[in-house]
């Protein structure tokens, strides 16, 4: 059993880390969730639930060598999706909010947009997209690279 002092320190450290993560990534994560589910109220509720979920290991997310944003995004995807099956209602009309909030999507070709949105917001694997589009996985990855390159230059 841990000593009370250690427990107390860990709790404070976690709380502090959680607050730091919220201040730095809270708005980006809310924007991301809104891009996935296209419902602001639900997005806020999910953000609350996700932060409650990570509250127990928040300090690990800020450890050196950890890409906090990528890790948060992965946790959010795991929370919002189960495997490749979207469990959220309203995802048939997906990417509507993403297209509204991400102006760079308009710079992409139809294929680039489809691939980026399905990977970034839709949690689809490269393999699944390749099968769906009847293309090689390497082509999908290259197309994703081009899409991100266009958006990075657009920034």
């Amino acid at each position: 059993m841990k000593s009370p002092i250690n427990n107390s320190t860990a709790l404070t450290k976690n709380e502090h880390a959680l607050h730091t993560i919220f201040n730095r990534y809270g708005s980006a994560l809310l924007g991301y969730i809104f891009g996935v589910i296209n419902d602001k109220d639900k997005a806020e509720n999910y953000l609350v639930e996700i932060f409650q979920l990570i509250s127990r290991f928040a300090d690990e997310l800020l450890s050196p060598g950890v890409n906090t944003w990528l890790r948060l995004q992965q946790l959010t995807k795991n929370f919002l999706y189960k495997g490749d099956q979207p469990v959220l209602s309203g995802t048939d009309a997906k990417f509507v909010a993403a297209e509204q909030s991400n102006k760079f999507l308009n710079l992409l070709t139809a294929d680039q947009k489809h691939i980026f949105c399905n990977v970034y917001y839709g949690n689809k694997s490269i393999q699944a997209i390749a099968q769906e589009m009847r293309k090689n996985e390497d082509d999908i990855k290259r197309c994703l690279r081009q899409a991100l390159s266009v958006m990075r230059n657009g920034q």
């Binding site: 994560l29 809310l30 991301y32 995004q73 991400n102 990075r152």
Partner: protein, 169 residues
């Protein structure tokens, strides 16, 4: 630049990694290539920054009460028994990540010197403080009134004595 490195960067595997769609093998490959080749490391770090910038551009500021909702939820957190999953979409993987040491248990420090109270107590404490001040002011007022009355009685008694002394003449 080494053709192998160039081919690796141009394959789109880094983008696959940063959009969270890389397989476990691809993730390992990215991380080992990053350690081996400075060009890959440089591209990795640039992409890392740009992905965050992109996310920031699509950010939505949370409403002011959102942090307190998170805090309230954390303070009211309950221990979930193993085999009773989260009512929403919490995957098995998440559960493992959420409590790496003892799944389903949260260590609570009973000897902590601090306590948390509900926010409603803020108003109760404010009301008690204001009522206390009113009571104090009233007490001081009546004390001064009483002292004044005592002095008046004293004066009246002296006047009465003087009157009684003057009457026999």
């Amino acid at each position: 630049m080494d053709s192998k490195v160039k081919q690796f960067i141009e394959s789109g595997i880094l983008e696959t990694y940063f959009t969270g769609s890389a397989t476990a093998e691809e993730e390992q490959e990215v991380l080992s290539m990053k350690q081996l080749y400075p060009e890959v490391k440089q591209e990795f770090e640039l992409l890392e920054q740009d992905m965050l910038k992109l996310a920031d551009l699509m950010a939505i500021p949370p409403p002011p009460n959102l942090w307190s909702r998170i805090e309230d939820g954390i303070n009211g957190i309950t221990v979930r028994k193993p085999g009773h999953p989260h009512p929403h979409r919490e995957s098995k993987e998440n559960n493992q990540q959420a409590s790496p040491q003892q799944p389903g248990y949260i260590e609570v420090d009973a000897q902590n010197t601090h306590m948390r109270v509900h926010k409603v107590w803020r108003w109760v404490f404010a009301a008690v403080f204001v009522l206390g001040k009113i009571f104090l002011a009233t007490a001081i007022y009546f004390y001064l009134e009483n002292r004044q009355a005592q002095e008046n009685i004293k004066e009246l008694k002296q006047q009465l004595r003087q009157t009684e002394k003057e009457q026999p003449r």
